[in-house]
Amino acid sequence: MDSQHSERTSEQELERLRTENAGLKQELEETRRSSTRYLQNVAHQLTAPLNAIKWNIEAIKDEKVPIPRKKNLLSSIYSQGTILVHLIKNFSLMSNLEADHELGQFRDQPERVSPLRLAINLAGDFEPQAAETSKKIEIRMLSFDRIFGDRDLLVVKNLVAQALSNLLENAIKYSTVGTTIDVEAVTAPVRETGKTYYGISVRNTGLPILPSEVKRLSDRGFRGNAAKQKIPAGTGIGLYIANRVMELHEGLIQVKPSGNETRMTLFFPASRIVDPIHKEEE
């Protein structure tokens, strides 16, 4: 009786393990397929600007193409170069950020960064890209004066610059032709932590983000439906990186869609806001 019972239990256990094994195999296959798709997508993202540059150079070498057109082609090469550098920075940051996140510490030392100066410099970098589709980037100077005054952020500059660049790039990509992208300083109590945060927000009018998609926007590789339908090519890592950067700074990223308007904010805790260094201290 006992041996029959134990035989039955072993068979049941074996069957359970078989089912579990089949499930794991299926999961592994799906992961393999999705990482292949992801790699193909990444390869496309990297080669597309390079190919555009190659064709532009070929057209510039063509004697029949008039000089004014060649000037446009040169500007386009510059824009494609900017896109490429931005993408490569994102990819190289991604692996570093994973490691930093696990360790819970920065690779580089945080430094004083003027939030207004950072916003102005990045807006300048993205201005040519915005102008290609008749969009403008406007910095709300007074808001920076009101929220930060002459105080700085104590952050890892290149990380925060990349996070803000990713927000600007999305805003340009997904906004309506001819609209303005606003960059402003904001402060708000954040419900999730109950503390007051200080931030830089980027607001654009264009593609609607569904409230149900907001939570998934920071997942690696996730792209909203409307975004995929309007611009099929994309990596889905911009907000993932921005979110990781903000977590490392004990801050957070907030996405607030409202109809066709989207506001994305990088929020820093009060501990990241530092008073200016007085001349005699320098």
């Binding site: 193909q40 496309h44 080669t47 597309a48 600007p49 390079l50 190919n51 555009a52 190659k54 064709w55 532009n56 070929e58 057209a59 063509d62 029949k64 193409v65 008039p66 057109r69 060649k70 446009n72 082609l73 386009s76 824009s79 494609q80 290609e132 995929k228 339908q229 309007k230 611009i231 099929p232 090519a233």
Partner: protein, 135 residues
Amino acid sequence: MKILLVDDEPTYFEALIATLESNGIECITARDMTEGVKALQKHDVSAVVTDIMMPPGPSFSQVDANECGFHFIEHVQQNWPRLPIVCLSVIADQAKIRFLARRRVRYLRKGETPLSTAVEVITAVAEGRSVRPRR
């Protein structure tokens, strides 16, 4: 001679347009399937050059952006059956490349085709000539 170029990444087309126009070919552009169809209703063109991954636009919103070019090609061939089509894209799936061949669509791989070859093939297709790409 006039041709229609459909692609949501216009930066790709700047060099192509500059070269085609310096060879006396007028180019009109569309950024999605809806704009592409509207342009064909408005203009009499000698050929269409299209990408595959592109937005469908408002009139075809149910079409998947990843496959949009295939729908566009079918739509063009149903409504303008004699209009030659060149597909300028990156397609990994051989079955899809064969689909294009069956539909008599000339496929040029973005990035691997030199600009001069693309110009040569597009011009020949628009003029109704057959051409072999240079090796």
